[in-house]
């Protein structure tokens, strides 16, 4: 009886160690970015690569000292918050209406909204560019925020629609009887109950805006440049400073990954388009 147990244990050890090796290989590009970002210039470019070295934060300091980097960082935060606030407000209102009222098109609309996610951002680019140029809004936060909404709002409506469906309508009704109007029901009863969902959706929207590249690329020049546009500019010059590029990459990816991981749990169902019951 002891032998099979032992074999099972051996299998387990083998299984988990191969899983861990698989994960390390899979995540190697990120580990390598992290390692390069804390190497000195000489270590970063040495061949064969150095695996053990004295870490330094010099690349990070250089990146933040670079002209425009801090501005781009702040711009990304402003644009992220702006996009999130706008889409979450508009998205919750729409999601609430779609789950609580029947009106012309209320059944088809969520799917139509989902279809808009299929649009390539490029097909919206020229009109948005001319529109903002006309209003003198090129290279402003507002232009980027509004454009980012085209990507994030449909999805937020979809997520909120899915989320509000899980909340019982009896609560709405009792609040209505207590004398609340529909708006009060939404922000006094439904939204507080949806707090975990709201936080997840907000984080997710923020990251979506943080990662957005195309609209900031075409709509900004100097003042409203966001982080991805700024970082993409690092490699167009003749000499690529790989230490700085990797440090900037880390600065950009860490918040995205952390926020996304935090949001994951709350939105997996919506992410998979409710395709799984």
């Amino acid at each position: 009886m002891r032998a099979p147990g032992k074999r099972k244990k051996q299998f387990k050890v083998l299984f988990y160690s191969s899983m861990i090796i698989l994960v390390i290989i899979f995540l190697f590009p990120i580990l390598w970015t992290g390692l390069t970002s804390i190497k000195t210039r000489v270590d970063a470019l040495s061949m064969p690569p150095v695996w053990i070295f004295g870490p330094t934060l010099k690349s990070y300091l250089q990146v933040f000292a670079r002209g425009g980097f801090n501005t781009a960082y702040i711009n990304s935060i402003i644009v992220g918050i702006g996009t999130t606030v706008l889409t979450v407000i508009a998205g919750s209102l729409a999601g609430y209406a779609l789950t609580r009222f029947r009106f012309f098109g209320s059944h088809q609309m969520p799917f139509l909204i989902l279809l808009t996610r299929m649009f390539p951002p490029l097909s919206l680019a020229f009109p948005l560019f001319f529109m903002f140029k006309e209003f003198g809004l090129l290279d402003t936060h507002i232009a980027v925020i509004i454009s980012n909404c085209s990507l994030s709002l449909p999805f937020v409506v979809w997520l909120m629609w899915g989320y509000f469906q899980t909340l019982p309508t009896e609560l709405d009704e009792s609040a209505l009887i207590d004398g609340c109007n529909r708006f009060q029901v939404l922000y006094k009863v439904v939204l507080p109950m949806s707090l975990p969902g709201l936080v997840a959706v907000s984080l997710f929207t923020f990251v979506g805006s943080w990662n957005a590249f195309f609209f900031p690329l075409i709509l900004t020049r100097i003042h409203a440049k966001t982080l991805p546009v700024q970082i993409a500019g690092f490699v167009t010059s003749q000499e690529v400073l790989w230490g700085q590029v990797n440090a900037a990459a880390m600065v950009c990816l860490v918040p995205a990954v952390v926020f996304n991981l935090l949001a994951q749990k709350g939105i997996v169902k919506g992410l998979t388009m409710g395709s799984i019951k």
Partner: protein, 292 residues
Amino acid sequence: MKGFRKFKKTLLPWLFMTPAFLILLVVLAIPIVWTCGLSFYDWSLLYTTEKTFVGFKKYAEILTSPIFWKSLKITMILTVACTFFEFIIGLALALLLNREIRARNIFRGLFLIPMMITPIVVGLQWRWLYDTEYGLINYFVGMIGFSRPNWLINKSWVLPSIIIAETWENCGYVILFLLAGLQSIPQSLYEAAQLDGASRLKRLLNITLPLLKPVILIVLIMRSVVSFRIFALIYTLTGGGPANATKNLAMLTYETGFSYWRIGQAAALAVFMMGVCMFMGIFYIKFIKIER
């Protein structure tokens, strides 16, 4: 008074919808119609500011230009290859993660990390890995004793390089969908099959895959649409080069519009891309509706 109340009741939902509608009107509906309109004009911002209506001429120009067909071919290769590899690798990892393993959620989260990273950063990471002289990939290639290719400069290596990076970035989406699908398959089916003596492979082919079919279709279409319009990754990895070898339709449209400022032609290209995406999108919605 009664009429007013009824009016209020029908108006109320639309009041809730107004902010979303207004935003989507400005950033989606108007731009889409506008882009379609622009595609009927000859309008170059570099040479002339005079807009002239030319009907379908811009579409004819596109369809007769060799760069469009080359670009379409590149786009198709990228779409098919990325979707295929993302699916195969994603399926394998999803099946692995669906086993009764400890810390499953942690492992799952780790495999999803690449898809959370800023696409521009993914491009830079891989550019660093692919670097001919200092890149880690060529270090390993040299170690095994092969000659070290110029991944992003050599015409025959550059598309595979992009496919590898794109697949790495996005197979997490496939894992996410398939894992959720796998977990909704009742365990009792497998137990019954096991009692009947069905092998592991047979269980996969006869139970898992058929039951996953709707989710698989959804994920395949979604990935096709996204691979069809890859932009940020190519922008950072190659910028469309060498010699247009990686200039897919998105890069071509961007360049036509924002480098050469040939707005009419770029709009026609954008409309073409939109048409293809919508065509795939309709099937996508259809399958989602079936699944729900």
